[in-house]
């Protein structure tokens, strides 16, 4: 029930942002579409901690900027490799230490979002990652990002 309420409020806030026209008629269309979406999500059984991970929103306040900085560093690194041609691609096989599937997906997504590393497969807790250079892969295998995501997930 708490999830349903917060999903409704978030969707409506989002709708208000997109719309910008706040006459009674237009806003009531917004309310109707939000209710329709929440009802559909309910029927699909996706209003749970996976489909609507509101409990992670606060944790993202510290994880987001950290990830952003990693992305900036990785972009500069890969751009240098584009210009210098210094690449040595390799596969990396690592374990995702997160306990929940959602945590593992956040980890795999963060890896893919960072240029120079692309998650190719995630089955169980096994990750197969393609990296642009062996150094990048070894850095990933040291697991700084993995422990960050574990912390985000709320476990130690």
């Amino acid at each position: 029930m708490k999830k349903t309420v917060s999903l409704t409020l978030m969707l409506f806030a989002l709708w208000l942002l997109w719309s910008g026209i706040y006459t009674f008629m237009i806003t009531s269309f917004g309310v109707a579409s939000v209710i329709l979406c929440v009802w559909l999500a309910h029927r699909m059984n996706i209003v749970d901690s996976e489909g609507h991970p509101a409990h992670l929103a606060l944790a993202h306040i510290t994880y987001g900027p950290w990830l952003l900085w990693q992305i900036v560093l990785a972009n500069i690194d890969v751009s240098k490799r584009v210009l210098s041609g210094n690449i040595n691609p390799c596969w990396v096989r690592i374990k995702a230490p997160q306990k929940t599937p959602l945590g593992r997906v956040i980890y795999a997504n963060s890896i893919t979002l960072t240029p120079g590393t692309t998650t190719v497969q995630l089955s169980g807790d096994e990750l197969l990652v393609h990296t642009i250079h062996r150094e990048v892969g070894e850095d990933l295998a040291r697991g700084a990002m993995a422990s960050r995501v574990s912390k985000l997930e709320g476990q130690d």
């Binding site: 942002l17 900036v72 691609p89 690592i94 120079g116 998650t119 190719v120 990296t131 642009i132 062996r134």
Partner: protein
Amino acid sequence: MGGVVDILSWICIGGGLFFSLMGGIGLLRFPDFYARCHAAGITDTLGSILILSGLMLQTGIELNLARLILILLFLLFTSPVAGHAIARAAHQHGLEAQVDGEDVTDA
């Protein structure tokens, strides 16, 4: 004040263009499919982050600013999913990567 914001905004947009260009050059220079994915990642991430940040500085504090932030957020959520889907499809259909040496493991 407006001048400073304008300059920052142009630095951001120029930087975004530079990194998008790097992505394009990498796409042409890198030897195989998987390496090219990394190059495309530059355009996807810092390219769009910087261009959208530059636009945010141009916008100022109004509704469009919140919209631009949300667009950036959605881009950052969806682009790795798309990138992963493409790489995974290639891998599952048996496309070999040009790699040197052993796999790196965390063990």
